[in-house]
Protein backbone atom coordinates (compact mmCIF):
# COMPACT_ATOMS: atom_id res chain seq x y z
CA UNK A 1 0.00 0.00 0.00
CA UNK A 2 1.32 3.39 -0.94
CA UNK A 3 2.28 5.31 2.18
CA UNK A 4 2.70 9.03 1.48
CA UNK A 5 4.27 9.76 4.86
CA UNK A 6 6.87 7.13 4.25
CA UNK A 7 7.46 8.40 0.74
CA UNK A 8 7.94 11.97 1.93
CA UNK A 9 10.52 10.80 4.40
CA UNK A 10 12.20 8.44 1.98
CA UNK A 11 12.40 11.16 -0.63
CA UNK A 12 14.13 13.52 1.76
CA UNK A 13 16.64 10.87 2.67
CA UNK A 14 17.25 10.12 -0.97
CA UNK A 15 17.63 13.76 -1.84
CA UNK A 16 19.95 14.38 1.08
CA UNK A 17 22.10 11.57 -0.22
CA UNK A 18 22.79 13.63 -3.30
CA UNK A 19 24.19 16.46 -1.25
CA UNK A 20 27.90 16.22 -0.88
CA UNK A 21 27.91 16.91 2.81
CA UNK A 22 27.49 13.86 4.91
CA UNK A 23 26.61 11.79 1.89
CA UNK A 24 28.77 8.94 3.04
CA UNK A 25 27.36 9.02 6.51
CA UNK A 26 23.85 9.20 5.25
CA UNK A 27 24.63 6.36 2.91
CA UNK A 28 25.92 4.32 5.80
CA UNK A 29 22.84 5.13 7.77
CA UNK A 30 20.71 4.07 4.85
CA UNK A 31 22.57 0.80 4.55
CA UNK A 32 22.26 0.15 8.21
CA UNK A 33 18.59 0.81 8.13
CA UNK A 34 17.70 -0.57 4.73
CA UNK A 35 16.08 -3.53 6.33
CA UNK A 36 14.05 -1.26 8.47
CA UNK A 37 12.72 0.92 5.72
CA UNK A 38 9.33 -0.56 6.21
CA UNK A 39 9.09 1.31 9.46
CA UNK A 40 6.36 3.90 9.30
CA UNK A 41 7.98 7.09 8.30
CA UNK A 42 11.64 7.52 8.45
CA UNK A 43 12.22 9.13 11.77
CA UNK A 44 14.40 6.19 12.54
CA UNK A 45 16.81 6.65 9.67
CA UNK A 46 16.69 10.35 10.23
CA UNK A 47 17.79 9.88 13.78
CA UNK A 48 20.63 7.58 12.83
CA UNK A 49 21.78 9.86 10.07
CA UNK A 50 21.89 12.86 12.30
CA UNK A 51 23.41 11.04 15.20
CA UNK A 52 26.27 10.03 12.97
CA UNK A 53 26.57 12.78 10.49
CA UNK A 54 25.64 15.78 12.51
CA UNK A 55 26.50 14.49 15.94
CA UNK A 56 28.58 17.52 16.66
CA UNK A 57 26.01 19.90 15.36
CA UNK A 58 23.22 18.21 17.21
CA UNK A 59 25.31 18.12 20.33
CA UNK A 60 25.62 21.85 20.09
CA UNK A 61 21.88 22.21 19.81
CA UNK A 62 21.31 19.86 22.70
CA UNK A 63 23.77 21.66 24.88
CA UNK A 64 22.34 25.00 23.97
CA UNK A 65 18.87 23.83 24.83
CA UNK A 66 20.08 22.31 28.07
CA UNK A 67 21.71 25.55 29.05
CA UNK A 68 18.58 27.52 28.36
CA UNK A 69 16.42 25.04 30.19
CA UNK A 70 18.70 24.84 33.19
CA UNK A 71 18.85 28.58 33.35
CA UNK A 72 15.10 28.79 33.24
CA UNK A 73 14.71 26.13 35.90
CA UNK A 74 17.21 27.85 38.12
CA UNK A 75 15.10 30.92 37.80
CA UNK A 76 12.12 28.95 38.95
CA UNK A 77 10.35 28.58 35.66
CA UNK A 78 8.67 25.32 34.90
CA UNK A 79 8.22 23.71 31.57
CA UNK A 80 4.83 25.31 31.18
CA UNK A 81 6.56 28.65 30.90
CA UNK A 82 9.15 27.21 28.59
CA UNK A 83 6.37 26.14 26.32
CA UNK A 84 4.71 29.49 26.35
CA UNK A 85 8.08 31.10 26.00
CA UNK A 86 8.85 29.04 22.95
CA UNK A 87 5.57 30.03 21.39
CA UNK A 88 5.93 33.71 22.14
CA UNK A 89 9.58 33.84 21.24
CA UNK A 90 9.04 31.98 18.02
CA UNK A 91 6.13 34.18 17.15
CA UNK A 92 8.37 37.17 17.70
CA UNK A 93 11.04 35.79 15.42
CA UNK A 94 8.57 34.80 12.74
CA UNK A 95 6.84 38.11 13.02
CA UNK A 96 10.10 39.94 12.98
CA UNK A 97 10.85 38.48 9.62
CA UNK A 98 7.44 39.10 8.23
CA UNK A 99 6.90 42.58 9.50
CA UNK A 100 9.45 43.88 7.04
CA UNK A 101 7.23 43.10 4.10
CA UNK A 102 3.69 43.43 5.22
CA UNK A 103 2.40 46.35 7.27
CA UNK A 104 -0.78 44.51 8.06
CA UNK A 105 1.13 41.67 9.60
CA UNK A 106 3.33 44.19 11.29
CA UNK A 107 0.27 45.67 12.93
CA UNK A 108 -0.80 42.22 13.97
CA UNK A 109 2.58 41.59 15.49
CA UNK A 110 2.25 44.84 17.32
CA UNK A 111 -1.00 43.64 18.80
CA UNK A 112 0.68 40.41 19.77
CA UNK A 113 3.47 42.31 21.38
CA UNK A 114 1.03 44.33 23.37
CA UNK A 115 -0.42 41.16 24.75
CA UNK A 116 2.96 39.65 25.31
CA UNK A 117 4.26 42.80 26.93
CA UNK A 118 7.73 42.32 28.36
CA UNK A 119 8.09 39.04 26.52
CA UNK A 120 8.25 40.91 23.27
CA UNK A 121 10.66 43.42 24.71
CA UNK A 122 13.00 40.70 25.82
CA UNK A 123 12.65 38.93 22.52
CA UNK A 124 13.72 42.14 20.91
CA UNK A 125 16.72 42.44 23.18
CA UNK A 126 17.96 38.99 22.37
CA UNK A 127 17.15 39.24 18.70
CA UNK A 128 19.06 42.46 18.58
CA UNK A 129 22.10 40.74 19.99
CA UNK A 130 22.41 38.36 17.13
CA UNK A 131 21.37 40.77 14.46
CA UNK A 132 25.06 41.21 13.66
CA UNK A 133 25.63 42.11 10.08
CA UNK A 134 23.82 39.30 8.39
CA UNK A 135 20.83 39.99 6.25
CA UNK A 136 18.73 37.53 8.15
CA UNK A 137 19.96 38.85 11.44
CA UNK A 138 19.10 42.35 10.40
CA UNK A 139 15.73 41.22 9.20
CA UNK A 140 15.01 39.58 12.51
CA UNK A 141 16.50 42.43 14.44
CA UNK A 142 14.59 45.08 12.58
CA UNK A 143 11.40 43.11 12.72
CA UNK A 144 11.86 42.41 16.36
CA UNK A 145 12.47 46.08 16.87
CA UNK A 146 8.87 46.68 15.92
CA UNK A 147 7.85 44.08 18.43
CA UNK A 148 10.10 45.61 21.00
CA UNK A 149 8.80 49.12 20.45
CA UNK A 150 5.25 47.98 20.72
CA UNK A 151 6.12 46.05 23.82
CA UNK A 152 7.87 49.00 25.39
CA UNK A 153 4.90 51.17 24.60
CA UNK A 154 2.66 48.97 26.66
CA UNK A 155 5.30 47.80 29.07
CA UNK A 156 3.41 48.80 32.17
CA UNK A 157 0.31 46.99 31.03
CA UNK A 158 2.38 43.96 30.24
CA UNK A 159 3.98 43.97 33.64
CA UNK A 160 0.62 44.22 35.27
CA UNK A 161 -0.54 41.29 33.22
CA UNK A 162 2.40 39.13 34.01
CA UNK A 163 3.19 40.24 37.51
CA UNK A 164 6.55 40.92 38.96
CA UNK A 165 8.19 37.93 37.34
CA UNK A 166 7.47 39.23 33.90
CA UNK A 167 11.04 40.23 33.03
CA UNK A 168 12.37 36.82 33.98
CA UNK A 169 9.63 35.11 32.03
CA UNK A 170 10.42 37.35 29.14
CA UNK A 171 14.03 36.38 29.31
CA UNK A 172 13.07 32.75 29.25
CA UNK A 173 10.72 33.36 26.39
CA UNK A 174 13.34 35.13 24.41
CA UNK A 175 16.07 32.62 25.11
CA UNK A 176 13.97 29.59 24.49
CA UNK A 177 12.07 31.00 21.59
CA UNK A 178 14.96 32.42 19.70
CA UNK A 179 17.47 29.83 20.78
CA UNK A 180 15.22 27.06 19.67
CA UNK A 181 14.20 28.90 16.58
CA UNK A 182 17.81 28.90 15.60
CA UNK A 183 18.79 25.56 16.99
CA UNK A 184 15.84 23.40 16.22
CA UNK A 185 12.79 25.43 15.49
CA UNK A 186 11.78 23.12 12.70
CA UNK A 187 10.33 20.82 15.28
CA UNK A 188 10.10 23.03 18.30
CA UNK A 189 7.21 24.95 16.93
CA UNK A 190 4.91 22.05 16.24
CA UNK A 191 5.93 20.38 19.49
CA UNK A 192 5.23 23.50 21.48
CA UNK A 193 1.94 24.04 19.81
CA UNK A 194 0.99 20.43 20.23
CA UNK A 195 1.70 20.77 23.90
CA UNK A 196 -0.36 23.90 24.00
CA UNK A 197 -3.37 21.96 22.95
CA UNK A 198 -2.87 21.44 19.27
CA UNK A 199 -3.65 25.01 18.30
CA UNK A 200 -2.35 25.75 14.86
CA UNK A 201 -0.31 22.62 14.77
CA UNK A 202 -0.93 22.02 11.11
CA UNK A 203 0.03 25.41 9.84
CA UNK A 204 2.85 25.85 12.29
CA UNK A 205 4.11 22.34 11.76
CA UNK A 206 4.88 22.85 8.14
CA UNK A 207 5.57 26.52 8.14
CA UNK A 208 7.55 26.32 11.34
CA UNK A 209 9.93 24.10 9.48
CA UNK A 210 10.18 26.40 6.57
CA UNK A 211 10.45 29.72 8.34
CA UNK A 212 13.86 29.14 9.86
CA UNK A 213 14.97 27.62 6.62
CA UNK A 214 13.68 30.53 4.64
CA UNK A 215 14.90 32.95 7.23
CA UNK A 216 18.35 31.51 7.04
CA UNK A 217 18.42 31.96 3.33
CA UNK A 218 21.05 34.50 2.92
CA UNK A 219 19.37 37.60 1.69
CA UNK A 220 16.51 39.52 3.12
CA UNK A 221 15.38 40.09 -0.42
CA UNK A 222 14.88 36.40 -0.90
CA UNK A 223 13.09 36.08 2.40
CA UNK A 224 10.90 38.97 1.40
CA UNK A 225 10.21 37.48 -1.97
CA UNK A 226 9.32 34.17 -0.48
CA UNK A 227 7.15 35.66 2.20
CA UNK A 228 5.59 38.38 0.10
CA UNK A 229 2.11 36.98 0.02
CA UNK A 230 2.51 35.11 3.26
CA UNK A 231 -0.86 33.43 3.37
CA UNK A 232 0.51 30.72 5.60
CA UNK A 233 2.32 33.27 7.65
CA UNK A 234 -0.91 35.04 8.37
CA UNK A 235 -2.23 31.78 9.65
CA UNK A 236 0.81 31.40 11.86
CA UNK A 237 0.27 34.80 13.35
CA UNK A 238 -3.39 34.13 13.86
CA UNK A 239 -2.64 30.91 15.64
CA UNK A 240 0.05 32.51 17.72
CA UNK A 241 -2.42 35.17 18.67
CA UNK A 242 -4.85 32.52 19.77
CA UNK A 243 -2.17 30.84 21.80
CA UNK A 244 -1.36 34.08 23.55
CA UNK A 245 -5.00 34.54 24.35
CA UNK A 246 -5.05 31.08 25.81
CA UNK A 247 -2.20 31.84 28.19
CA UNK A 248 -4.19 31.71 31.41
CA UNK A 249 -5.89 28.54 30.32
CA UNK A 250 -2.56 26.95 29.48
CA UNK A 251 -1.28 27.71 32.91
CA UNK A 252 -4.35 26.13 34.44
CA UNK A 253 -3.88 23.00 32.38
CA UNK A 254 -0.33 22.21 33.33
CA UNK A 255 -0.82 18.47 33.96
CA UNK A 256 -2.30 17.98 30.54
CA UNK A 257 0.49 19.97 28.97
CA UNK A 258 3.15 17.98 30.72
CA UNK A 259 1.52 14.73 29.68
CA UNK A 260 2.14 15.67 26.10
CA UNK A 261 5.82 16.18 26.69
CA UNK A 262 6.77 12.58 26.34
CA UNK A 263 9.94 11.58 24.51
CA UNK A 264 8.05 10.47 21.45
CA UNK A 265 6.79 13.92 20.66
CA UNK A 266 9.82 15.79 21.88
CA UNK A 267 11.68 17.24 18.94
CA UNK A 268 14.76 15.31 18.01
CA UNK A 269 16.78 18.43 17.63
CA UNK A 270 16.77 19.08 21.34
CA UNK A 271 17.31 15.55 22.53
CA UNK A 272 20.46 14.73 24.36
CA UNK A 273 22.93 12.52 22.61
CA UNK A 274 23.36 9.04 24.06
Amino acid sequence: MFNPAYEIGRMAGEQAMHNTTGAEILKNAAEISKNSMRLPGFAWINRIAFDRFAGREQQLAANLNTQVQQQAERQGHGKKKLLIGAIIGTAAVVGGTLVLRDPEIGAKIGTLAEKAGPWGKKAFDVADKFADNSAFGNAVGRGAEAVGKAAVKVGSAGKEFLGRKAPAIGETAASVGIGKAVASSAETVPAAVTAAGGLGEKALGAFGAAVPVLGQLRTAEMAGQVLRRVPVAREVITKADQVVSMGPQLLANLPALMATLNPEVRPQGIQQQP
Binding site: G9, M11, N19, G41, L64, E201, G205
Partner: protein, 103 residues
Protein backbone atom coordinates in the same frame (compact mmCIF):
# COMPACT_ATOMS: atom_id res chain seq x y z
CA UNK B 1 8.40 28.71 -2.76
CA UNK B 2 5.71 30.02 -0.47
CA UNK B 3 3.11 29.08 -3.06
CA UNK B 4 4.37 25.51 -3.18
CA UNK B 5 4.56 25.30 0.57
CA UNK B 6 1.09 26.66 1.01
CA UNK B 7 -0.25 24.28 -1.58
CA UNK B 8 1.10 21.29 0.26
CA UNK B 9 -0.22 22.44 3.61
CA UNK B 10 -3.65 23.10 2.18
CA UNK B 11 -3.81 19.77 0.43
CA UNK B 12 -3.02 17.90 3.59
CA UNK B 13 -5.29 20.03 5.70
CA UNK B 14 -8.22 19.66 3.33
CA UNK B 15 -7.76 15.95 2.81
CA UNK B 16 -9.98 13.33 4.35
CA UNK B 17 -7.12 11.81 6.24
CA UNK B 18 -7.49 11.20 9.92
CA UNK B 19 -5.86 13.72 12.20
CA UNK B 20 -3.20 11.26 13.23
CA UNK B 21 -2.39 10.60 9.58
CA UNK B 22 -2.17 14.29 8.82
CA UNK B 23 0.10 14.81 11.78
CA UNK B 24 2.36 12.05 10.56
CA UNK B 25 2.59 13.70 7.17
CA UNK B 26 3.41 17.05 8.73
CA UNK B 27 6.03 15.47 10.92
CA UNK B 28 7.67 13.70 8.03
CA UNK B 29 7.53 16.84 6.00
CA UNK B 30 9.25 18.82 8.75
CA UNK B 31 11.90 16.17 9.23
CA UNK B 32 12.42 15.95 5.51
CA UNK B 33 13.09 19.67 5.24
CA UNK B 34 15.43 19.51 8.17
CA UNK B 35 17.28 16.55 6.74
CA UNK B 36 17.81 18.38 3.48
CA UNK B 37 18.79 21.74 4.89
CA UNK B 38 21.00 20.97 7.83
CA UNK B 39 23.65 18.98 5.96
CA UNK B 40 24.04 21.87 3.57
CA UNK B 41 24.38 24.34 6.41
CA UNK B 42 26.86 22.15 8.23
CA UNK B 43 28.90 21.71 5.11
CA UNK B 44 29.41 25.42 4.87
CA UNK B 45 30.12 26.03 8.54
CA UNK B 46 33.72 26.84 9.40
CA UNK B 47 35.00 23.44 10.46
CA UNK B 48 37.53 24.73 12.91
CA UNK B 49 34.93 26.73 14.80
CA UNK B 50 32.40 23.92 14.63
CA UNK B 51 34.86 21.41 16.03
CA UNK B 52 36.13 23.80 18.64
CA UNK B 53 32.64 24.43 19.92
CA UNK B 54 31.72 20.78 19.78
CA UNK B 55 34.81 19.92 21.80
CA UNK B 56 34.04 22.67 24.29
CA UNK B 57 30.28 22.79 24.58
CA UNK B 58 30.54 24.70 27.81
CA UNK B 59 31.60 27.67 25.75
CA UNK B 60 28.56 27.49 23.53
CA UNK B 61 26.30 30.49 23.48
CA UNK B 62 23.35 31.53 21.42
CA UNK B 63 25.60 34.02 19.72
CA UNK B 64 28.25 31.49 18.82
CA UNK B 65 25.66 29.06 17.53
CA UNK B 66 23.91 31.59 15.38
CA UNK B 67 27.31 32.76 14.20
CA UNK B 68 27.92 29.30 12.83
CA UNK B 69 24.73 29.51 10.81
CA UNK B 70 25.51 33.00 9.66
CA UNK B 71 28.97 32.00 8.57
CA UNK B 72 27.54 29.04 6.70
CA UNK B 73 25.38 31.39 4.70
CA UNK B 74 28.14 33.79 3.79
CA UNK B 75 29.00 33.82 0.14
CA UNK B 76 25.64 32.66 -1.08
CA UNK B 77 26.59 29.14 -2.03
CA UNK B 78 24.68 27.53 0.82
CA UNK B 79 21.72 29.71 0.02
CA UNK B 80 21.74 28.55 -3.58
CA UNK B 81 21.99 24.91 -2.61
CA UNK B 82 19.27 25.20 0.01
CA UNK B 83 16.90 26.99 -2.33
CA UNK B 84 17.45 24.46 -5.09
CA UNK B 85 17.08 21.43 -2.86
CA UNK B 86 14.13 22.79 -0.97
CA UNK B 87 12.32 23.62 -4.18
CA UNK B 88 12.94 20.14 -5.50
CA UNK B 89 11.68 18.62 -2.31
CA UNK B 90 8.49 20.65 -2.37
CA UNK B 91 7.81 19.63 -5.95
CA UNK B 92 8.42 15.97 -5.19
CA UNK B 93 6.33 16.10 -2.04
CA UNK B 94 3.48 17.55 -4.02
CA UNK B 95 3.81 14.71 -6.48
CA UNK B 96 3.69 12.16 -3.69
CA UNK B 97 0.51 13.71 -2.36
CA UNK B 98 -1.02 13.50 -5.81
CA UNK B 99 -0.04 9.87 -6.04
CA UNK B 100 -1.79 9.28 -2.74
CA UNK B 101 -4.85 11.09 -4.09
CA UNK B 102 -4.33 13.95 -1.69
CA UNK B 103 -5.23 16.74 -4.05
Amino acid sequence: MDVKLNLIVNKIENSKLKTVEKNLLYRQFVQGIQLIVWPILVKHMPKNILHTLADNPEHLTIESYTSLITRALEGGQAFTEIARNLDTYLVRTNAVLAQAHIV
